[in-house]
């Protein structure tokens, strides 16, 4: 089953072994997350439509989407694993590798580039020692580059843990970094 699937980001056994038994979603996820799953599922005529919102909810709880978590989502929606994996790997907001406690998305698109996005990326490099798609060794912060975040008129923009920080300059970014716990 695993032979044709790209393995990037998902720990896979070296030798072809039987795929792990899908974890019971109700044990794998907390009650609150399951409640969110249920409420998403109810609003569509076809439950599969809830997949993307459910992956968001799963990632909110777990921080990232491990193979085990994807298997649990597949079991929950009664979908083959590949239907879940192909979606999780298509959309950039889903992390298929472990990320730090904080995730900063720096917009690198045109409006932000014109107003200093690369200086922001450099600030993260200088202060945290990491580049794009890297995590600090202490697991505090992961840096990602985003395509247009829709904050063009308040560029440059960083999406830090789901909150937009807008009209940034280097000093403000340094302050944001210093405040990370």
């Amino acid at each position: 089953m695993t032979a044709g699937i790209p393995t990037a980001g998902i720990p896979m056994p070296k030798k072809a072994a039987a795929p792990p038994a899908a974890p019971d979603p109700r044990r794998h996820f907390g009650a609150e997350t399951i409640a969110r799953f249920e409420s998403w599922k109810r609003q569509y005529p076809d439950e599969r439509a809830a997949l993307i919102p459910i992956l968001h909810a799963a990632q909110d709880e777990k921080g990232w989407l491990s193979r085990e978590t994807l298997e649990a989502v597949a079991a929950y929606l009664k979908l083959p694993f590949i239907r879940v994996y192909e979606v999780a790997s298509f959309y950039p907001m889903f992390h298929l590798r472990a990320v730090g406690r904080h995730v900063a998305w720096v917009c690198r698109n045109i409006s932000c580039d014109l107003r200093g996005a690369s200086a922001i990326v450099e600030t993260f490099r200088r202060k945290c020692g990491i580049g794009p798609d890297e995590t600090t060794p202490d697991g505090k912060l992961t840096l990602k580059l985003a395509e247009c975040l829709g904050g063009c008129a308040s560029a440059p923009v960083v999406d830090l843990d789901g909150v937009y920080r807008e009209n940034l300059d280097v000093a403000q970014v340094e302050k944001l970094i210093a405040e990370l716990k």
């Binding site: 609003q43 599969r48 968001h56 409006s111």
Partner: protein, 460 residues
Amino acid sequence: MAERYLLPRLEKPGYRGSLEEYRREGGYEALKKALAMQPEEVTAIVKNSGLRGRGGAGFPTGLKWTFMPPAADPRPRYLAVNADESEPGTCKDRVLMERDPHSVVEGVAISAYALRAKASYVYIRGEYRASFRAMERAITEATKAGLLADRPIHLHVGAGAYICGEETALMESLEGKRGHPRPKPPFPANFGLWGQPTTVNNVETLANVPPILAKGIEWYATMGTKASPGNFLCGISGHVERPGVYEVPLGIPAKTILDDLAGGVRGGKKLKAIIPGGSSSGFLPASAVEKLVMDHDGLKNAGTMFGTGAIIALDETSCIVRATKVLCQFYHHETCGQCSQCREGCAWLDQICGRVENGEGRPDDVNTLLALADGMRGKTICALSDAAAIPVQLAIQHFRSEFEQHVAEKRCPFGNPPMHVHTDGLDDEKRSELVEIVHSDVLTLLNEGKSTSGKGMAVQ
């Protein structure tokens, strides 16, 4: 300045966009008026108003609604609202959703009634958490107040893919799949969400519907032009003194927005170029801006398109090659990979533009870029391939000498640091072999349908 009807409410100090506040400003009167009519009458009013879609294509909204099957068709029908705002430069729908969500909810409610929709789904991009929360609150309030009756509005959330702003990709994504655009026909009005009749409209488009219903089409025609009536939300960004989202009538001179509203070029510098309607509309030189009129015909006559009406200004210190590379890298990142022209073309535009910017360009790279871009026009399932090619074509058309200068001087004359250049995951030997082949005849390879980069099939 002409009358404004989209932003004045939310610009009032202290306005938080609750149901009570929205009603105090005359909100939901248009819905009441619409519900007293037949759905077809509402559609006729919107059609006669001449309202055109604000999401990019500029298609007449009422006309789109008439494509839905007749009322006797027993299938359930849906309204999908495109709130996947992600065209670079565009930041307008967010303002409405975050700060005046009921103006969107009322627009959705009226439109759903006109379309006889069973339910509406608002597809909000994943990053817009603030928009999601505000819309969620507004829908809850409207539902509790009985305003939505038996036509529920549901929110759906995306996860960072630009292609999902394309209406058929949006529907695929809403069904829980990868955002792969569908071939048309069948068109959404006949085969949309879950195979049922569906209409997809943009947020700002729907926010125009309540004012049209409330004040009538004669009033609406007093703003904008005959072919493009009404106001639009213009996001202006880049090198201007006051970037922002401004409500202006269609047909307004671009100079008025740039100079009077946005305060001119930042730091007293000279304007070099603008992107007039979101990244896909490409570059226009400052000389073309003088007489540029911001509406669908005006931008078409200037050799580009109105798109989302989002202006990005570049001052005289900007490097057009770098700006083009930034856009190429965006489209390369966002191509869904279904069509070979787009998948391969976007990768190559990104790579070649990148090496030109980094001072590693080859003498015929500019022609190769043009040949590639030409091969990407009008050949694919959706318009992303064209959208990626247009900025390259216009950049070279208007600023060819700047590309040639990069190649001749083997550096970026503006002193920009090197940019990340896409590679294909091959080892150096294989790559140089491949680059030689491709460099000599990239079009032959594309025409034969063979892969020329790492994004798709394995290289032969």
